[in-house]
Amino acid sequence: MGRISTQSAGEVSDEALLGALADGDQQAVVAFVRRFQRRLFGLAVTLVGDSGIAEDIAQEAFLRIFRHASIYDERRGSVATWALTITRNLAIDSLRVRRAIPIPSEDRVFFELVSGYRLPEEAALVDEDARRARAALATLPLEQRRSVVLATMYGRTAAEIAELESIPLGTAKSRLRLGMARLRTNMTRLEVQ
């Protein structure tokens, strides 16, 4: 494909940008970083709760994306999902080593995801994938929703959720399992609609 110009970068799809990146297009590298840095850093800092470590994780995620751009398989998900999955995996690995656990109960993102309430400045941001995920999450009973958010967005294990919520381990496991199962059903239903 042709080179990405600074002017055209904003109009190019994520997949085309990644393709140009795989071809070694330096403009595509810059455009890709600017397009995804807020999301990758946002996820990393949500998971690890430390800005410095989150920056390191987001940067390592970009380096891996650049390195593996040529083997990206769109059948496995969108570019954004792929990039976020790489970031999440790095953050989880980092958490596994550090295991310092900031309790997210006062965290704005945690509050929004669990309550379903959106702060006015965030409500204007429309992303179809996020809208669908948020709608599916909102259908879960509160206890399951909290467990799913703690595990997926904050990297908490069932044992840690049990401790945070002061519930038996078996209860934490079943909340997470049932929550994920219900999300599977609801996401499929929302996709069909």
């Binding site: 940067q59 083997i71 599916a136 996401m187």
Partner: protein, 224 residues
């Protein structure tokens, strides 16, 4: 073993932890046990696929937050450093490939050239290469190459592992026998290694990397 032969109680126990597994929240011995089960149970594997899809879809909920000032310039610096390191690695791998080609042409021991070990054996001039991704937790961390011939050779190239140190290579034959064929060191997640095989390459079903505790770290499926 087919799924039909698996004890339903084993599946129920695995499914207790499957959501955590999909989120990479299971580690150590439990992860190894689950991996072992998942390799032979298509129902639990299918369930895992679905959990992974849900987990990935939820990533869309990640908040957008500005990284600290200077993020791009620090990334550019790391990118520059990585390019140099990657070039060095590519040169090393290219040297290995060239060495292998020379060995194929002249019948020298590839093991001597590629790894520094003296366990050499002549490579076949009609080597036929099979390639498979080395996968750890659903992520490709390298490649395994199987060259047919007499003897057959196996090459392993790891470029993106999360561990360092000594790893052991186990080969599972089509008849289900497992044999440790050697070991090599990973340095900062990178390493490459080669070994001649006693059996024909067509007898190799999969190759795995195993740590000192016997936990399977990554597997490459070479035949179905």
């Amino acid at each position: 073993m087919s799924t039909d032969q698996i004890d339903p109680k084993a599946c129920a126990a695995i499914r207790e932890d499957l959501s955590e597994f999909a989120l990479r929240l299971v580690s150590g011995r439990r992860r190894a046990e689950m991996l072992e089960h998942l390799q032979t149970c298509s129902k639990c594997s299918a369930q895992l696929e679905e959990d992974v899809l849900v987990a990935d879809a939820l990533l869309a909920l990640a908040p957008e937050i500005d990284p600290p000032l200077g993020f791009e310039s620090r990334l550019a610096k790391r990118l520059g450093e990585r390019s140099v390191s990657l070039r060095r690695r590519r040169i090393r791998l290219a040297a290995m490939a060239a060495a292998a080609a020379v060995a194929v042409l002249f019948g020298f021991g590839i093991g001597v050239i590629a790894t520094g070990h003296t366990s050499g054996g002549p490579a076949s001039q009609s080597a036929n290469l099979t390639e498979a991704r080395l996968v750890s937790g659903g992520r490709a961390i390298g490649y395994v190459y199987l060259a047919s011939g007499s003897p057959a050779w196996m090459f392993m190239s790891v470029g993106d592992a999360n561990w360092s140190g000594t790893v052991w290579c186990e080969v599972t034959s089509t008849s289900g026998n497992v044999a440790t064929v050697g070991r090599f060191d990973l340095i900062q997640g990178h390493g490459a290694w080669g070994v001649p095989l006693k059996d024909s390459s067509s007898h190799v079903r999969s190759a795995s990397l195993v740590d000192a505790a016997g936990v399977t770290l990554a597997t490459a499926r070479l035949t179905s």
